[in-house]
Symmetry: C2
Subunit: 397 residues, 2 copies
DNA sequence: TAAATTTGTTAGTATAATAAACAAACTAAT
DNA sequence: ATTAGTTTGTTTATTATACTAACAAATTTA
C-alpha cells in the first residue's frame, strides 16, 4: 500500500530534493545561499548538504569569493556521478545518446533501419544500447536508466500496443529490454519524449504549460501541464493527429476521416507533392529534403504547397490553443526542417483565427534540439527518476 | 513568500486533511477504522480527531455496533457547521443555491432575466445572494463563500473579460461582490463550474479525468485532470467550442470559421430549425423545448435535425477524446434535455471514428444534475477552499 | 589593529508521528 | 457467573527532524 500520510521522512525527502534541485539549477552556490534562497535553516541545509556529499550527488570545489566575511564553500552538482541512455526509435533510424546527469550528450550512436520487423529491430536496438553502455565512463552509479521513445501507442506498463509505421503490435518492449540489461527502462511515446526534451533543455525551458507538436510522418502531441507530462487514463493522450478538422474529409488509416494529419503532416506534404507530377522525381528520391531544395530555388508550386501545409498546421494548433490555453506551443520533429517556409503561414492562421485572449503572452516556437529532442527527453526522464529514487532510498537506511 | 519547504506543520496539515476527508467520505466511522484505513497510528488519529471536534467540523454520535470488543465511538461530518452559496448566472436566468458543507441544496432561488445590462443584472444578483444569506440557518462558521458561474471568459483574478451572450466586457465581478458581502468570492467559467459539480456530486463521482461538455447556446468544456480543474495559463482553457472542425466552414462571431459550436450547439439547432420553415412557429416560440415536443410527436425533419446535431457533437467529442484519453466524457447544459434524441448519434459517431484504444474503458454520460450542475459546482469549490483553510489556519494558533 | 560581517557548525528546543503499554468496554466460551 | 480474549481509545516514552540561537573561523573594512 502506497502511503498517503505525512511523516518525518516525507519532510526530509521534500527538503533534500529541494536542496539538490537548487544546487542542480543554481550551482555554483554556497550553503548560506541555499538557506537564503529556499528558506530552510542554515543548520538544516548543512546537514542535508552533507548527506548529498556522502551520496556523491554533489561535491565541494574550494572557497569562492567573499562578500565581506568568511569565504563560502562552493557546491557543484556531480554531473558525472552516473549516466543515462536515451533512444529515439524512428521509423527508419535509431538514434541513441549517452548523457551525463545534466543531460549533456557524451556519446551518440546512429543506425539506419532498412527493415522494420520487430525481430530485426530489437537486435539492432540491443546492440546500440550495448555500445552506449560500453562507451560510458566509470562512475559511482553507472547507467541509471534506459529511456526509449517509440512512434506509437504506449500504455502505462511500457507495452507498445501499436506502432503503425513500424508495423508493430502488442510488444512488451520494456520487459524485453529490462531483462536484457537489468537496468530500469522507460518506454515513452515519441511525442512525449520530444516534449520533455524541449521542456528541460530546449525551447521550453522557461514554461510549464507546453504543447509539443511532433510533426513527422504523422502528428502527435506531447502535453506538458504544470511542468509534468500528462498521460491521460491509459497513457494514450496526445493523439491530436486524429482530431477531425474536416467533417467527411479524406479517409484515414485509423478508420476515421478528415483527420488533421492527413492535411498537415510529412505524409500530406509528400502526397500533395506527388500530385504535382514533378519532372525527374521518382518515388525513391521524393523527400522533404528535396522539396526544400526546390522551394529554396524558387519553385512556386512547392512554395505554395509548404504554405498550405503551414496553414493546415495552423488549424490544428488553433484548436489545441483554444482548448488548453497553453503558455507555449513548440513545433518539432521532421517538419521543423521546413521552418522557414512554414512559420509565417502558421502564425498568420493563428493570428486570424485563434481567440484573442488566448494569443496574449502565447509563445510559438520551433524545437531547439530538433533531431535530438526525443532522445534527450527520455534520457532526462530516467535521470529524474534516478534522482528522486536516490534522495528517498538513500536516506531510508 | 509562499514556502515550498517541508516542516512539521505541513505533515500535520496533510494528516489532518486526510482524517477529515476520510470522515467526510466514509462516515459513520470510528477512530480505529480511520487509523486502519489511512495507515496513521491510533494515537495520531485520536489527537487529530480531537482537534477536528474542537473545530466543530465533526461530531460524535454515541457508540456504534461492537465487533467483539469495546464499542466504537461513531464520528460524523458536521454538514451544518457552515453553508455555501453557488450561483449559476445564465444568459436569461439566475439560479442561486444555498448548500450545506456536503453540497446538499438547502434553499434555491430562481430569477428570470429579461435584461442583460451589467448594471441591472448585478442588482438582481446581489438581491439573490442577500436572500440566500438571510435564508441560511444559524451555524458556527456562517456563509463560508460565494461562487458564481459565468458564461464567459474569466481570468485568474475573477474578472469577466468577455461574456458574449451577456454583452459584458472587462468586469471585475469578484471585487464587486466581495466588497458588497465581505465573504470570499470565486468567479468561475460556467463549464468549469458544471464540470466540478458533476465530478463531486454527479455522473463523475468515480473518475478523476473527466471532460465536461457544456452544450448550451455555445459550447465550452470543463477539464478535470487528476481530480482537479485545469485552467491553462490564464484561466481560459476549455474554449473547445471554437475548435475548427470544418476548414473554410461557416463564419463565427469569434472571427474564425468552421468552429465546432456552429454545428453542434443550441444555437446551431435553432438556426437549422429556422431553415425548415415550420408552420405556426415564430421567432418567439422557437425553443429546444418546442423542438423536443415535435420530435416526440414524430416529426421526421426535427428528428433528423437532432441526429445531425448529435453527429456533430460526436465530431468534437471524438477530437477531445483522442487528445486527452479521458476516463469519462459528460455532456451537460441545455442540450441534455434532448438526451434521448442525441445519445445514439453521438455514440455511433464515436464508435466509428475515435481511436479504438481510446474507447476502451471510456465512459460517455449525460450530466446527472443538469440544471443544477454549475451552481452546486461553484458552491462545492467554496466548500473545498473553506475546509482547506480551516485545517491549516485553525492549527496555526 | 579593531570592528563588523559572513559562513558554516553545534547544542539545545519544539513539534509531531510512532510504538507500546494500558484501561475500559464488550463478546464468547466454559 | 466466571474467565479469557478482543476491540477501542488514551497515555507515555521514544524518535526523527526542523528550528533557534550561540559560536568559532575566516575575511573585509574602517
Amino acid at each position: 500500500m502506497k502511503t498517503l500520510t505525512g511523516n518525518q521522512q516525507l519532510v526530509k525527502q521534500i527538503n533534500k530534493t529541494l536542496v539538490l534541485e537548487t544546487i542542480l539549477h543554481e550551482a555554483p552556490i554556497s550553503r548560506a545561499d541555499i538557506s537564503q534562497k529556499v528558506g530552510l535553516n542554515k543548520g538544516t541545509v548543512s546537514s542535508l548538504v552533507n548527506e548529498l556529499l556522502e551520496d556523491q550527488l554533489i561535491y565541494e570545489s574550494g572557497p569562492g569569493q567573499s562578500s565581506g566575511g568568511r569565504r563560502p564553500v562552493i557546491l557543484l552538482f556531480n554531473d558525472k556521478a552516473g549516466f543515462s541512455i536515451g533512444i529515439d526509435l524512428g521509423v527508419n533510424y535509431i538514434l541513441g545518446v549517452l548523457t551525463d546527469l545534466r543531460g549533456n550528450i557524451i556519446v551518440e550512436v546512429n543506425k539506419k533501419l532498412t527493415v522494420r520487423s520487430y525481430e530485426v529491430v530489437i537486435e539492432i536496438l540491443q546492440s546500440v544500447i550495448s555500445d552506449l553502455i560500453n562507451a560510458a565512463p566509470q562512475s559511482h552509479y553507472g547507467i541509471v536508466g534506459i529511456g526509449i521513445g517509440v512512434p506509437g501507442l504506449v500504455n502505462n506498463h511500457g507495452e507498445v500496443l501499436v506502432a503503425p509505421n513500424l508495423g508493430w503490435k502488442n510488444i512488451n518492449l520494456r520487459e524485453e529490454i529490462e531483462n536484457c540489461f537489468d537496468i530500469p527502462v522507460l518506454i515513452e511515446n515519441e511525442a512525449n519524449a520530444g516534449a520533455y526534451g524541449e521542456k528541460l533543455y530546449g525551447a521550453g525551458k522557461e514554461n510549464d504549460n507546453i504543447l509539443y507538436i511532433s510533426a513527422g510522418i504523422g502528428i502527435g502531441v506531447g502535453i506538458i501541464l504544470n511542468g509534468k507530462l500528462f498521460y491521460g487514463m491509459n497513457g494514450f493522450s496526445g493523439e491530436a493527429g486524429h482530431m477531425i478538422v474536416q467533417v467527411n474529409g479524406k479517409d484515414c488509416t485509423c478508420g476515421s476521416s478528415g483527420c488533421w494529419e492527413l492535411y498537415a503532416s510529412e505524409k500530406a506534404l509528400l502526397e500533395e507533392a506527388r500530385k504535382l507530377k514533378l519532372t525527374g522525381i521518382t518515388e525513391e528520391t521524393l523527400s522533404i529534403e528535396l522539396l526544400l531544395e526546390l522551394a529554396n530555388s524558387g519553385n512556386e508550386d512547392i512554395i505554395n504547397l509548404f504554405h498550405s501545409i503551414g496553414m493546415y498546421l495552423g488549424v490544428g494548433i488553433n484548436n489545441i490553443i483554444n482548448i488548453f490555453n497553453p503558455e507555449q506551443v513548440i513545433i518539432g520533429n521532421r517538419l521543423t526542417m521546413a521552418k522557414d517556409w512554414l512559420e509565417k503561414s502558421i502564425e498568420k492562421f493563428i493570428k486570424n483565427h485563434t481567440m484573442k485572449y488566448h494569443q496574449k503572452d502565447l509563445i510559438i516556437s520551433f524545437s531547439k534540439h530538433a533531431y535530438y529532442s526525443a532522445a534527450i527527453g527520455v534520457s532526462a526522464q530516467m535521470i529524474d527518476q534516478f534522482l528522486n529514487n536516490a534522495v528517498s532510498i538513500l536516506d531510508a537506511q
